[in-house]
């Protein structure tokens, strides 16, 4: 019972982050499904994709009313991604998982730094 409540609460948090930042929430769903609900890694990754569906649909539906969704680019990115998935599966089987985790972690750090750098503003008046 407590596990179900905890998983639901983590799902809610993942959903808020998903809506706020336009991600699906999978990064939180997978550990919730494995650590709280006891699924295997494979079942968790599969079920995470299923949980992302209502999350992304609800978020995109809200965003549509705000006029923020660009449907054609979303379709292009989505269809191209499905091709990319195939390549990802091949590489995932060829490289050890801890190497992949490290590489992805470093990539995310670099992206975070670049986003933060881009957000910096010049002072409103010249000194």
């Amino acid at each position: 019972m407590w596990a179900l409540l905890a998983a639901g609460a983590l799902g809610l948090v993942a959903g808020v982050l998903a809506g706020l930042f336009g991600v699906g929430g999978g990064i939180l769903f997978v550990p919730t499904l494995t650590l709280v609900l006891g699924l295997t890694q494979l079942h968790a990754e599969a079920s995470s994709l299923l949980a992302i569906l209502p999350t992304a649909a609800a978020g995109a539906w809200r965003q549509r009313t705000y006029g923020n969704v660009r449907w054609r680019p979303a379709l292009v990115v989505g269809v191209a991604a499905i091709v990319g998935v195939e390549a990802g599966v091949q590489i995932a089987e060829a490289l050890p998982e801890h190497v992949l985790r490290r590489l992805f972690g470093l990539l995310l750090l670099a992206v975070a730094a670049q986003l933060a750098w881009r957000s910096r503003r010049k002072p409103p008046y010249a000194s």
């Binding site: 809506g19 969704v69 990115v77 191209a80 750090l109």
Partner: protein, 113 residues
């Protein structure tokens, strides 16, 4: 062309980590396709929905889905996403960018340690 590349990269990481790919799509739309924050995040959600639909169907054929477990996290998450999207409209682009960068850095640290 850029959009196709963004999709390929997102799908690639999506397959590796069982995520929808949004944490890759959003920064690429902002940094590469020069979207501003809100359209990037909204468009990413729509793309992620499509990616996860295809992914879930493909896993479904292999019998690896646990619909009950997915509902336990997915239904509260859908409610959360409605709230999160509304909250997003009230935040400045710069705040969104910096908060998202902090989220990415947090995930990166978690992956690296």
């Amino acid at each position: 062309m850029r959009l196709i590349l963004i999709g390929l990269v997102a799908g690639f990481f999506s397959a590796l980590f069982g995520v929808g790919g949004g944490i890759v799509v959003v920064p690429l739309l902002i940094l590469v396709a020069r979207y501003s924050e809100r359209p990037a995040m909204a468009t990413s959600l729509a793309a992620v929905g499509l990616i996860s639909l295809v992914g879930a169907i493909s896993y479904g054929f292999h019998g690896e889905l646990k619909p009950g477990a997915a509902a336990v996290v997915g239904i509260p998450a859908a409610l959360g996403a409605v709230f999160g999207s509304s909250l997003q409209q009230r935040l400045a682009n710069r705040t969104l960018s910096l908060a998202f960068a902090a989220l990415l850095a947090g995930i990166a640290v978690w992956l690296l340690v």
